[in-house]
């Protein structure tokens, strides 16, 4: 029988992998992909909590919003990455440190 714990474990693993990708990958595109993993881990949690409690379809609706948000975010973020590449001829996040104090 698959319970709530399974979903949560999958989601936690997915979240950890996303964090790992965001914090270690050098390529900006990979970092964005890590962000997608984190968002989807959140979606799994929302849907799982929605299924295993009596709040109706609220969780699912919220997950839908997140998917749309992720699409928008990916579009904007890719545009930024593209611009950075145009200006700096690189997409390596280590090199983008002009905000350094």
């Amino acid at each position: 029988m698959i319970g709530l714990e399974h979903y949560l474990i999958i989601s936690a693993m997915l979240f950890s992998l996303g964090i790992l990708a965001v914090s270690t990958r050098r390529n900006a595109i990979s970092v964005l992909m890590g962000v997608e993993l984190i968002l989807n881990a959140g979606n799994i949690n929302l849907v799982a909590f929605s299924k295993f409690s009596d709040i109706g379809l609220n969780g699912q609706v919220f997950a839908l919003f997140v998917i749309i948000l992720a699409a928008a975010e990916a579009a904007v973020a890719l545009a930024i990455v593209l611009n950075i590449y145009r200006n700096h001829q690189t997409v390596t996040v280590d090199r983008m440190d002009s905000l350094s104090g």
């Binding site: 964090i19 914090s23 970092v31 996040v93 280590d94 440190d97 905000l99 104090g101």
Partner: protein, 691 residues
């Protein structure tokens, strides 16, 4: 009432116009002050006629008094008082001033400071008119100082040369000594009576608000002012030096009007004088009279002879007032103003021609009588007017001088011989001075106008133009008797219009005597004797004596000097070598030297002491305090740089250090932030679990 203000302010207006626009006006603007003083003269004449027609000894017009300063406890008022004395003084001042203005247009002609001279004459006339018009001692003091100032300006008119500059300073400083006493006197009166006004002061003295030694002191302090201004012994030394000023100035200020201000002051303060003060005053006057006339005998500078003569005559006036011959003293002021102004203007006329004759020869002193001689034919008007004035000064009958001088001598004789024989020295000095007066004046005439001219260049001398001779003629005619009295020996309108005021102290004196000795007996007999004026008793003896003395003085001068000027000048030069007395007389009894050796020396020594005190004590204290301040400042600077700045720097350094450390956190790398975010969340969660 505006008439008084007009009289007072017109000369001031003349002064203002002269000072600001004089040089731009045609003729140097001399007609402006001349017109001003002319109008003032006409207005004064109107007042004088008004007083004369009223013919009332108590004639009085008052303007004011207005409150000038309200001190709540006292009110200080100002105002104008015109009584018979003032109206007579107005005439004296405006007549002499007008004639001197006229005379100066010729005498000062061509002087580079011509218009300024007339400006100064204007301010002098203003001050002098103010002096006689005011009704209180405070304003009298103000105008008193103003005439002193104008005198200073006019003595030092040719300030480019040393002698006039020094003479003006000397006059001012010597007067200052007297004025100090004057001011103290005024303050004593104000302290006790609380008013400066003549009438209030008289009333205060009458009601005994001030009496005894304090009243004597107040009177003598006020008299100090008169000693300075009227060149009385021992402050007479400034007047001969003042002759360095232009001659018209000597005539106006140092013969006729300003020096008479001291006598005028004694006239005004007469009611407050105590018998003790009167004795001092009469001795001062008598000493001055004899001193001036002895020195005049041995002078060669024509103006200095006249200056010492003026001192001597001022001494007469003061002596007259001191012995109680009040009217005579004041009368002599008036008559003396006319004939002495005439003498000075006459001497100016001679000097003017001497300058003309000797031209640019600076080795010849144009004022030295030894360089003159035989001027009678060449300058007839000057000679005859000079002679008339000399006769008047010597006190011969048919002149004004006889009337007034005789009355003073009668008063002195009455006081010192018939009255109180222990003061016999006063009439002796007075009569000796009368003898000497005739002698030195005729010596002056014989040496200047008679004999052979001392130099060929004197041929160039001729009579001066009308502007100079008209004043001489007017003043000479004013020296005759009929202006003052219909009878040449009697008492004219003057004695009817000016009455001797009652003296509070004398009234008290009689009352006290009555109280001590009872109402009858010795005291009342004495009082009766004193009331019977001894001056009247002395009238005819004094008259006879003074005529005899004047005649013998003239006779001696005639015997010695008439047509023998060369021999006498040589004889006097020889006398100068041999006789210490003549030397002493020529050197003015060594007064200047005496003052130099004593007061001046003392002041100079004191100066050194003060200089030492200044350098070592005052400067020492200042330097010491400066040193302390510097040390304190050094400490302060140390505290500032080390402690205050140190704290500030510490704070700043700490902040910089902290910032430097903290900036490392801000790497600018996205992934660092993510890791930190994660760590933060983990920390928060762990903390939540533990707590």
């Amino acid at each position: 009432m505006t008439i008084f203000l007009l009289i007072l302010l017109l000369p001031l207006l003349g002064f203002a116009i002269q000072v600001f626009f004089g040089r731009k006006l045609p003729r140097g603007g001399d007609w402006v002050p001349l017109t001003c003083i002319g109008v003032a003269f006409l207005l004064s004449l109107r007042i004088f006629i008004q007083a004369l027609t009223a013919y009332d000894p108590n004639f009085e017009i008052r303007f004011g008094p207005f409150v000038w300063l309200d001190l709540t406890s006292h009110k200080i008022t100002v105002g104008i008082l015109v009584d018979n004395i003032t109206s007579i003084m107005l005439m004296v001042v405006t007549v002499v001033s007008l004639l001197v203005h006229l005379y100066s247009t010729e005498y000062m002609h061509g002087d580079p400071k011509y218009s300024r001279f007339f400006g100064f004459l204007g301010i002098f006339s203003f001050s002098m008119l103010g002096l006689v018009l005011v009704d209180n001692f405070l304003l009298l003091y103000v105008f008193w100082e103003l005439v002193g100032l104008s005198s200073y300006l006019l003595i030092g008119f040719w300030f480019e040369r040393d002698a006039p500059a020094n003479a003006s300073k000397k006059a001012f400083l010597v007067n200052r000594i007297g004025d100090l006493g004057f001011f103290v006197g005024i303050m004593i009166l104000f302290w006790k009576i609380g008013s400066f006004e003549y009438s209030s002061v008289y009333a205060g003295v009458m009601t005994g608000q001030i009496d005894g030694w304090l009243l004597t002191a107040a009177g003598l302090c006020l008299f100090c002012g008169a000693i300075g201004k009227s060149a009385q012994f021992p402050l007479h030394i400034w007047l001969p030096d003042a002759m360095e000023g232009p001659t018209p100035v000597s005539a106006l200020i140092h013969a006729a009007t300003m020096v008479a201000a001291g006598v005028y002051l004694v006239v005004r303060m007469f009611p407050i004088l105590t018998p003790d003060a009167m004795v001092v005053i009469s001795y001062i006057g008598a000493i001055t009279a004899i001193l001036g006339s002895t020195i005049a005998v041995a002078q060669y500078d024509i103006k200095r002879v006249l200056a010492y003569s003026t001192i001597s005559q001022l001494g007469y006036m003061i002596m007259g007032l001191g012995v109680g011959a009040y009217v005579a003293g004041f009368f002599h002021l008036v008559t003396h103003a006319a004939f002495k102004a005439c003498l000075f203007l006459g001497s100016g006329s001679v000097i003017h021609q001497m300058h003309h004759a000797y031209g640019d020869d600076h080795h010849v002193d144009p004022q030295d009588m030894r360089n003159m001689g035989g001027l009678k034919k060449k300058m007839p008007i000057t000679f005859w007017t000079f002679l008339v004035a000399t006769v008047a000064l010597s006190g011969f009958p048919l002149t004004s001088g006889f009337l007034s001088k005789d009355a003073i001598l009668a008063g002195a004789l009455g006081f010192g011989f018939y009255g109180d024989p222990k003061h016999i020295l006063i009439p002796i000095m007075g009569f000796s001075a009368a003898l000497l007066t005739a002698f030195y004046m005729f010596r002056l005439i014989f040496v200047t106008f008679y004999g052979k001219p001392s130099d060929d260049r004197l041929d160039r001398v001729h009579e001066n133009p009308k502007a100079m001779t008209i004043p001489l003629i007017v003043l000479a005619s004013l020296s005759l008797w009929f202006f003052y009295s219909p009878s040449p020996i009697g008492e004219g309108w003057f004695y009817d219009l000016v009455k001797k005021p009652e003296q509070a102290a004398v009234v008290d004196h009689h009352a006290a005597m009555d109280a001590v000795h009872g109402s009858d007996g010795v005291a009342s007999a004495e009082a009766a004797e004193e009331h019977h004026d001894p001056a009247h008793q002395a009238h005819y003896p004094a008259m006879a004596l003074s005529i005899i003395l004047a005649c013998s003085g003239t006779f001696f001068a005639y015997k010695k000097y008439f047509n023998k000027r060369e021999e006498m000048m040589a004889y006097e030069a020889d006398l100068m070598e041999r006789s210490w007395l003549f030397r002493a007389l020529h050197n003015k009894w060594y007064f200047d030297e005496m003052y130099s050796a004593t007061f001046l020396k003392a002041v100079m020594t004191l100066r050194l002491v003060f200089a030492w005190f200044d350098t070592w004590i005052v400067d020492g204290i200042v330097n010491l305090s400066a040193y302390f301040t510097r040390a304190l400042a050094w400490l302060n600077a140390l505290f500032d740089s080390k402690i205050v700045d140190g704290l500030v720097n510490l704070v700043a350094d700490t902040i910089i250090e902290a910032g430097g450390q903290l900036r490392r956190v801000q790497t600018g790398r996205l992934q660092t932030y993510v890791v930190l975010l994660l760590v933060g969340i983990v920390v928060l969660m762990v903390a939540r679990m533990i707590v």
